[in-house]
Symmetry: C2
Subunit: 507 residues, 2 copies
């Protein structure tokens, strides 16, 4: 409603067509870290392409804004994003505070109307991709990470965004079928839950293969005759239904009993030439229980050495896993091969919102500044260009913002880079290479790059994480990454600041 | 994917048509409180009415589940919710741990398929309605509460759900136009943001009424000639565009300068018989600045006593407000009349997920139990009926669950109510009245109640909060509210528990 009210006020003041530039950026990285992984550009590009108001929406806007006349409604009716130029970071990029992620240039009224939508479409995807990247860094490269969060997500499309951008951030798959249906190519997986196991009691009405069931029971009776019979039946049914996908949830009644039930079914499968997948633990001390699982697998391996799958069985764990749990598990001995992570990933428990803002920095070529008593909230005025300066070892040294008419930094040339606000923080830097941080993604009413896919983003994130110094990425107390301005931009910022800031008169 | 995998396994085991009952409930209230405000039933009813798979979805399911044969796909193709009976709490009800919010009875396979969707459609709406209710309790009944969170929401539909269920929980309006467009009747409001103010510099190109601008500047020059000229121009333009809706954002450059600019415009408006609305503060010490605003309003009132609006001017504040800030402001002197609350409301910063679960409690009339080493996670088996027992002063005494074949509690009759797990926690209770906690909302393929509106929920919440003892609702250390089982259900639960729990053999 803010954007529509302001849109009308611009229209009335006849400033709606003035050329303007807005920047979308964040001030503080989430989760106590130093970085974000940029995501959501695909949604933004799709919004730019489809932007417009239907007649029914225009009618509703008339009701909300009785001050709106036919002229304004007609203006909205004919509005499209053909007059915008949008530059952006690319999905999967490591991005840092205050550097514009998206820059929107075009008529003031139109640029203003996009504010809330662009923020919504970037804030959550970037937050999720960043969270997933941190989970991946905490878990290390080997384990499989599966996103299980739809049931606790903040709305169904929140859940679908979470699935997609968690995979961009380094997860391997999701249990969310709708996400996979919308975004083909996402790996979708899921096995059984407690209700499935609980739905069976004993063998009454069993209609599966009798010899298979008999064999399973015989194996079980040798090893641990007291296991839950309904659970054993549930596993036998599931194994016959999914001969290539038998992953058993073992903690409905008693975890170790469940593991013996699983192994009994596994033996009978193995004798038919089938390969079971493994077990899932959803409660208890996961490190300890995973070791116990492995111990039982080894016990069965000793008894049934002809079956070759024992060492390869998966031990999937779930139950309120977050970054801290992953870090803690990393310090313990465990035999976990995969994690199912839901609530804490998708709702970003540690910080459920990213604070991207969308700020006007220039009107008709004139820079704009917003002041604040909180220095971090002062805006760096004017349109800028942004570069990542790379050192001789290939890792980024710092990000540099310059004014649009300044000469870009060049490899091998020494320049002064300054903290935007703190006078004494400055350094000389001689980059080995220089990478522009933004790309024109939308111009003349058309996308200027192919729509970014999840796979593109995933690959870029892997490359950038690989090149970045580890201490910038670490979970606790990461080394600050420098985001600097050129000496020219520094002087310009402070000149404008002095001009606009009122001098208080005390008496 | 879990639900589809299990659905196929049930189908293969030929148990998919067995009659079953699932309960949806939470174990622990969010935000350190004792209650939730139930919400989301409208979405659930709409899902039940529209449940089904398209051919393209069925094709995708075939790809995901190569084990699925034509029989299963046909089963899915013909599936509808006509065979279900669903009982539910009504939106806006105060609800407590372990009491079923929704009970779904019908064929096992179908009931299972609904799990994730029902959880998604209840968890977040109930979390938001609860959060909003807590914000309302912390703010007290008088101030206007506005939801401003779309830009930080976890996805666009998360944002729209937040707007709707925040209003159910006691907010007065939202800035989210799409939410209002989808759910007519929500009050939508919004004024100006910093970019609007920043877009103006001085008076060049001013095309509004000259006399109005001149008068504003004259008033301003008497009071505080040094205020920001671009801001003054922005206010003059806005006041002419919105003669009935002039609410000015005053902190773009200097808050008190902004207040003087607002008042100067207000005087000129008043002389034309118009009534300005007030100011918004978006930074700084909100309690202090609100008092300063009121002081300046009073100063202008002394100078321009003929204008009658000074006492009624609104002081709206925003900027990272959460429940704690509201509680803290309640203890200070301030002149705030309205709060704009975004991030912390819609993303539920204090706890971003509600942990509702959906559990199988009965198959073909036989109760099912899930055990756990964590007692709180043990399931209360079997289908039940639930009642709220009301005391002589009209406030709830406790919620009581009984087995389906037990006699319901009756007013004036003394009964024993027991804690489900802790033997020594029990009480006698003689209710003055007894209210069933659930209503049949879906049966024979059709809704059994009118679709619940936001207004219905809002009214019910108000009534129930009004009746509830304050100490159950308070922010810090609330008194636990008793959720009990009948003596019969207690004995039944513990009998089944003993039957299913394995006796460990130590050696």
């Amino acid at each position: 409603m803010y954007q529509l009210s302001m849109g009308l006020a611009y229209f009335r003041a006849n400033t709606h067509l003035k050329s303007s530039t807005f920047e979308l950026f964040f001030r503080k990285p989430p989760f106590g870290g130093e970085f974000c992984v940029f995501a959501g550009l695909d949604q933004v590009m799709s919004h730019l392409a489809n932007f417009g108001f239907t007649e029914s929406q225009l009618q509703y806007i008339r009701e909300l804004l009785p001050e709106a006349d036919d002229g304004f409604i007609n203006y909205l009716r004919n509005l499209s994003c053909s007059s915008l130029t949008v530059t952006s970071a690319l999905p999967g990029s490591l991005v840092f505070p205050r550097v514009p992620l998206i820059t929107v240039s075009g008529p003031l009224g139109l640029c203003q109307l996009l504010e809330t939508t662009l923020l919504t479409l970037i804030n959550y995807p970037t937050l999720i991709a960043t969270n997933a990247t941190r989970f991946r860094l905490a878990a290390g490269p080997s384990p499989t990470l599966l996103e299980f969060g739809l049931r606790r997500a903040q709305g169904p499309d929140g859940g679908c965004s979470a699935s997609k951008y968690a995979i961009l951030g380094g997860f391997d798959g999701t249990s969310n079928v709708t996400a996979g249906w919308i975004e083909r190519g996402l790996k979708v997986s899921g096995t059984m839950a407690h209700s499935y196991v609980m739905s069976f009691r004993g063998w009454e009405g069993y209609g599966g293969a009798e010899d298979f069931a008999t064999e399973v029971r015989e194996v079980r009776d040798v090893k641990w005759p007291g296991t839950n019979e309904g659970e054993l039946r549930a596993f036998v049914e599931y194994a016959q239904c999914f001969p290539k996908g038998f992953l058993a949830l073992v903690d409905t009644y008693d975890t170790m009993g469940g593991v013996y039930n699983f192994c009994s079914v596994a033996v009978a499968m193995g004798r038919k030439g089938l390969k079971p997948v493994g077990v899932r633990l959803d409660s208890g001390d996961l490190a300890y229980l995973s070791r116990e699982c492995r111990r039982v697998f080894n016990e069965f391996k000793a008894s049934y050495p002809a079956l070759e799958f024992w060492d390869g069985l998966q031990i999937v764990v779930s139950n309120d896993i977050n970054e801290e749990v992953l870090v803690a598990l990393g310090k313990q001995e465990h035999c976990i091969t995969a994690y199912g992570i839901g609530t804490n990933l998708v709702t970003c428990q540690a910080q459920p919102a990213l604070g991207c803002v969308y700020k006007l920095v220039e009107v008709e070529g004139e820079p704009r500044i917003k002041l604040s008593q909180d220095i971090e909230k002062v805006l760096i005025p004017g349109r800028k260009r942004c570069y990542r300066l790379i050192g001789s070892d290939g890792s980024p040294l710092l990000d540099l913002m310059i004014m649009e008419d300044e000469a870009p930094p060049t490899p091998g040339t020494r320049i002064l880079a300054r903290h935007p606000f703190e006078e004494q923080k400055r350094c000389f830097v001689t980059p080995t290479s220089v990478v522009p941080l933004t790309t024109v993604v939308w111009k003349d009413g058309a996308p200027q790059i192919p729509y970014p896919t999840v796979e593109d983003g995933r690959r870029r994130r892997e490359e950038e994480v690989e090149k970045c110094r580890e201490d910038h990425l670490r979970t606790h107390n990461p080394t600050p990454y420098k985001v600097s301005v050129s000496h020219g931009l520094y002087k310009f910022l402070h000149k404008i600041w002095l001009e606009e800031a009122p001098v208080v008169e005390l008496s």
